[in-house]
């Protein structure tokens, strides 16, 4: 069932977001939604999913390795890269070679990438774009629950809830079929924009960008002040509430109103609805998380959930709405700077010993933790930083903050190697580009936003000249004197052993089980273990089994508006595009739906700046400038403009100020000047 059923419909999953909708690819590449995968069991797909097949055939594919822009044989390219890597390592040491991965890679690739970096390259310098995704939520979940499984419950549980509070997420655009699970509950949406999702809400709270943390504190203050704390739950299942309660005295709602702009009576409506619900969920998305205080913001929302007695109760809970296709699995198996497979810590001696044993190397040979994503990109080509970068499944020239600066750092490298299936903006800068397989051309597992491990099957034969990322890694490793598996099944078997005993334990999961069971929830420690859809029902993954309240305080955004940069910029997504747009900007119908970047601004701000709809607008921050077409809408606050980040531009403006814990950059708020371009 893992082989190549090139004729007949093949059951697989969408290439894009973390919902990982089930889809069938039939003859002529006809795509149909599957009805056996809970995420989209009602037969839903969004336009991105329906049109996903176009990238397989529309001539945008890379099919030959490129060396300095010229097509070359695979062996030539592999030899060149291996020789250069060896030379750079010999001259500057192992940390002079860096690896950058992606949250869209399969578990097998993410795992192999981490192993390749630590074993074949011996470098500590590996991180990935998931750092820009849900790292804040992951850090806060680990603090509170001892474990980060984005949504620790099946997505279908949501429909039974009375209330769902979604802080900083626009699922109606980013993962439309998600909305079908929110048909039943009353929705409370927190977003500086009246997004497509906020329009569906029973209550929309529209805070100033960068103040979600204050809002969460104000909501919890009200829960306490109105006597709505689930005291029995707090006593039985948590620790640390007293300290949090005291710290909240300073966040009375009228103060929070002044900071956030959210009226007190609206906050009161929100907490009363939450407290009155029999079943309720709090979900966070990138809007709350992509801040220099993102971890604390999520901690504040988790505190709120704990005070209301939600996590670890069947039918209620807290969850992070993971974004990238394998954003969950990608953060578990070792492409993160501080991590080893199974969600193990790289500085934990027991973890090192276990993983080194599976890899057949001495534990002391494994490097320690390296730089986080932005710090890694920022160090490229600097005196103490990496001289070479191997890039997989990411397009940082578009997607990293302060993108112009990042492009400069990349340009300063001695060697840039990318694996891609289209010529992304970053691939265009590379010394060597390896053309690799894409989703329907390869088999592998993906772990979706629920923590459900899914099987993507190969449905079509890849074009001639194209190889899997696993082949590239094995080819380079071989030349550097190491052996890596290239068969996804064998890689997965090794991953199972490496993850055994870790938090994200996959050891009981097999391709056969995934196929038979429509996905398996980790942790799944034994072949006869049913998997764990709701891991916190009996206890949390902390040493004492209790969830932890974490006291946090609000502070202003890393960059506040001033006279020169008087308007807030927030960035986000549109329905027709995914991430840096490298894939979706190459699909005709998606380009037709959303052809160009835009700046959304309020009519009052537009009037004040003498900007009309359709004008070209110049947006400037301390880091750079971008131009885009004006869209006038009263769905956004008067003090804020919004830009989608799927095109070059928005991230030239964003602020690389990092969260001290998660190292997440502050994508969601910075100060800009907005002018009509003359």
């Amino acid at each position: 069932m893992v082989s190549d059923p090139v004729d007949g419909a093949v059951k697989t999953h969408c290439p894009y977001c973390a919902l990982q909708c089930g889809m069938e690819i039939g003859p002529e590449l006809a795509i149909r939604p599957r009805t056996d995968i809970p995420a989209n069991a009602s037969g839903a797909l969004c336009q991105k999913g329906w049109t996903a097949g176009e990238l397989l055939t529309n001539g945008e594919r890379l099919t030959s390795p490129l060396l300095h822009g010229e097509p070359v044989e695979w062996d030539v390219a592999l030899d060149y890269v291996a020789n250069r890597l060896a030379a750079i390592r010999a001259e500057h040491g192992p940390d002079a070679v860096a690896v950058f991965g992606g949250g869209g890679l399969t578990n097998e690739k993410a795992y192999t990438l981490g192993k390749f970096a630590r074993v074949a390259l011996g470098t500590s310098q590996i991180d990935y774009n998931g750092r820009f995704c849900m790292s804040s939520a992951a850090a806060a979940s680990i603090k509170a629950f001892g474990m980060d499984r984005g949504m620790p419950f099946p997505i279908t549980d949501l429909a039974e809830a009375d209330v769902v509070l979604l802080a900083g997420g626009n699922v109606a655009e980013t993962m439309p079929p998600f909305v079908r699970h929110l048909d039943g509950p009353r929705m409370i949406v927190i977003d500086p924009r009246r997004s497509q999702t906020a329009k569906l809400a029973w209550l929309h709270l529209q805070p100033t960008p960068g103040t979600d943390l204050a809002l969460a504190l104000g909501l919890l203050h009200l829960v306490i002040a109105e006597g709505l704390v689930d005291e029995e739950y707090v006593a039985a299942r948590t620790t640390g509430f007293d300290e949090v309660r005291t710290s909240l005295s300073a966040w009375w709602p009228e103060r929070v109103e002044r900071i956030t702009g959210v009226p007190v009576y609206r906050m009161r409506q929100a907490v009363r609805a939450m407290a009155a619900a029999q079943k309720a969920y709090i979900l966070t998305g990138r809007g709350a998380e992509q801040h220099a205080k993102g971890t604390d913001t999520v901690s504040a929302f988790i505190n709120l959930a704990l005070a209301l007695g939600l996590p670890g109760r069947h039918g209620s809970g807290y969850g992070c709405v993971t974004g990238q296709g394998n954003g969950q699995g990608g953060r578990e198996h070792g492409q993160k700077a501080d991590q080893l497979p199974g969600y193990r810590k790289i500085d934990d001696p027991a973890a090192r010993e276990h993983v080194a044993g599976v890899w057949g190397v001495p534990p002391e040979s494994l490097p320690g933790p390296g730089r986080s994503a932005y710090e890694l990109l920022d160090a490229l080509g600097t005196p103490g930083g990496p001289k070479a970068l191997l890039l997989f499944g990411s397009n940082p020239v578009i997607s990293a903050p302060a993108a112009e600066h990042v492009a400069e750092r990349i340009a300063a490298l001695d060697l840039l190697v990318t694996c891609d299936f289209v010529m992304s903006e970053t691939a265009a800068m590379a010394d060597v580009v390896f053309p690799v397989t894409q989703w329907a051309e390869e088999t592998g597992t993906m772990t979706n936003l629920e923590g459900r491990v899914l099987l993507r099957r190969r449905a079509v034969t890849p074009p001639e000249g194209v190889r899997s990322d696993l082949d590239v890694l094995a080819g380079l490793a071989e030349r550097l004197g190491h052996r890596l598996e290239t068969d996804p099944v064998k890689v997965f078997d090794e991953l199972r052993r490496a993850s055994k005993g870790g938090l994200a334990d996959y050891s009981g999961i097999t391709y056969e089980r995934i196929a038979a069971e429509k996905g398996v929830f980790w942790p799944c420690p034994e072949p006869d273990h049913p998997g764990t859809p709701r891991p916190f029902l009996d206890s949390f993954a902390t040493p004492d089994g209790r969830a932890r309240f974490v006291p946090v305080q609000h502070r202003p955004a890393a960059e506040e508006v001033d006279e020169d940069y008087p308007v807030y910029l927030s960035t986000g997504r549109v329905l027709a595009h995914y991430q840096s747009g490298a894939q979706t900007r190459r699909i005709a119908s998606l380009v037709k739906a959303a052809p160009e970047p835009f700046v959304e601004l309020h009519p009052d701000l537009a009037e004040q700046l003498d900007i009309s709809a359709g004008d070209v607008v110049r947006v400037t921050s301390k880091r750079g400038e971008a131009k885009a077409v004006a869209r006038i809408s009263d769905a956004i606050r008067r003090d804020t403009v919004f830009m989608p980040f799927h095109w070059e531009g928005a991230n030239r403006l964003t602020n690389p100020a990092l969260d001290p814990t998660s190292r997440m950059p502050e994508f969601k708020v910075c100060a800009v000047r907005v002018e009509r371009d003359s």
Binding site: C46, A172, P177, D183, Q196, D242, R258, V262, R638, D639
Partner: protein
């Protein structure tokens, strides 16, 4: 560097935590006359109203000081400042040296000099609050003297506990410093509906055993009398030390008194002729002083005042210069007394310089921020007072939707495409979905597509 702070209230405790955040090593000693932990005075009206317990208003746990290496001397009143040798001396004789000293002595309730006033309880401290609550248990009728912010919150709180309350106020309308006449009257009507009898323009002459006697002789019956007649800065310590004191201890933009090693913040301080009685300015001052004390260059330039009443079922925000009239400013006003709604904007030179919002309103956040930031007021004044008013109405009627309008966001399908699809033979949602993929994403456009299809069918007389 040895820092000594006198006063462990909202300003003093805030200053200490701000200094400690900035400098983990400075030696800090804080003296507090009260024995309890610092608490949030803003929340006392919640305690009075019964929505918070007294132990829920603490700002710092008692363990905080030791954990942050701050020496806390509570129940230890400072009696004297020896500026010569730079020591503070407590009532019990302790001498503590300082390099820098911060006075955060706060203010005390004003007790009017009328006969029998000792029978009344001022509403100022947590202790007062507890006394009031104890008396309220047996009381049958209460009188609150003073119709400012605190008096109203106290009266509302007691009324919420089922106690009949009369509020006596000397001025012609409530909160006369923050509100214009009409707003004061609308507020009075709202409170009346919540069980608070309002008597304005009356002067209490004496507190008797059975009530309060007004000037003119009338007796307002009560067995519980509460005083909320304003506060006075506590400046005795500073004055005796020879520091410049007017209404409060006079400070400059660094919050320094005329002795550069002594600062004053909070309700005891007077900056640029202003003595502030709200928490926000005190915390802004604490932040600036902490910065200066730890070597920073922050300056305090005064605070913008936003008054927010905290009384259940009464939403009131008042800010800035609410008394300006059309002669001196542009005034936008909306009044709907039957619903307890009153909204007023005062605009000068294109900036919002004052506002009153009475009654629930989504405008309050936007207006407070516009006032705080001093940004330009948009041309659409009505849209500011009535958010949502300017939003385009959602067209429910399929005939009115233009062909170019997107019906299915998820699959980018317009009404025109649905019409074309219908013209090509699709007669139901499933048919439209099969041809256009409309409704196959989030599914929320299903009703709209259904509406368009049935409308087209009706047009052609086709039954569905």
């Amino acid at each position: 560097m040895r820092l000594v702070v006198v006063g462990n209230g909202m300003a003093g405790s805030r200053l200490v935590s701000e200094v400690r955040t900035r400098d983990p090593h400075m030696k800090i000693t804080i003296f507090g006359a009260e024995t309890c932990q610092p608490y949030n005075r803003v929340l006392l009206s919640n305690v009075l109203a019964g929505s918070s317990r007294p132990d829920q208003v603490r700002l710092l746990d008692s363990s905080w000081y030791a954990a942050h290496d701050v020496e806390a001397a509570f129940g230890s009143a400072v009696a004297h400042i020896d500026r010569e040798t730079r020591h503070v001396v407590t009532e019990d004789g302790r001498r503590e040296p300082y390099d820098l000293l911060v006075l955060a002595t706060g203010s005390e309730a004003i007790v009017p000099p009328i006969p029998g006033v000792e029978r009344a309880i001022p509403f100022r401290t947590l202790e007062d609050c507890e006394r009031i609550l104890e008396s309220a248990q047996q009381a049958r009728k209460a009188v609150v003297i003073g119709g400012g912010l605190l008096g109203i919150e106290a009266a509302r709180g007691l009324a919420g506990r089922g106690l009949p309350v009369t509020l006596l106020h000397l001025a012609g309308h409530l909160m006369e410093r923050q509100l214009d006449v009409e707003a004061g009257e609308v507020l009075g009507e709202t409170l009346n509906g919540l069980g608070v009898e309002i008597r304005t323009g009356v002067s209490a002459e004496a507190v008797l055993e059975d009530g309060v006697r007004l000037a003119g002789g009338e007796l307002v019956e009560a067995d519980l009398v509460i005083l909320a007649c304003g506060v006075r800065p506590i400046t005795k310590l500073a004055a005796e030390a020879g520091l410049e004191v007017r209404r409060g201890v006079v400070v400059d933009d660094e919050l320094r008194t005329d002795d550069p090693s002594i600062f004053a913040i909070g309700e005891c301080a007077e900056h640029d002729g202003m003595v502030y009685g709200l928490v926000a300015p005190a915390w802004e001052q604490a932040s600036v002083a902490a910065d200066v004390i730890t070597g920073g260059k922050a300056l305090y330039r005064g605070s913008r005042l936003v008054t927010r009443l905290k009384a259940r079922s009464v939403e009131l925000a008042a800010m800035g210069e609410t008394h300006l009239t059309e002669e001196h400013a542009e005034v936008v006003r909306f009044s709907h007394r039957a619903r307890g709604t009153y909204r007023k904007l005062v605009i000068r030179d294109g900036r919002l310089v004052g506002a009153i919002l009475l009654g629930e309103s989504d405008a309050v956040g936007t207006l407070t921020q516009l006032f705080d930031r001093g940004g330009p007021v948009p041309g659409d004044r009505a849209g500011l007072l009535f958010p949502g008013l300017s939003s385009a109405p959602v067209t429910e009627n399929p005939t009115l939707i233009p062909d170019a309008a997107k019906i299915c966001q998820c699959n980018n399908v317009t009404k025109g495409q649905i019409r074309a699809c219908w013209e090509a033979g699709a007669r139901d949602v499933a048919g439209v979905a099969a041809a256009t993929r409309a409704t196959t994403g989030c599914g929320t456009c299903k009703d709209a597509v259904e509406g368009i299809v049935s409308w087209l069918c009706e047009q052609e007389g086709i039954s569905v």
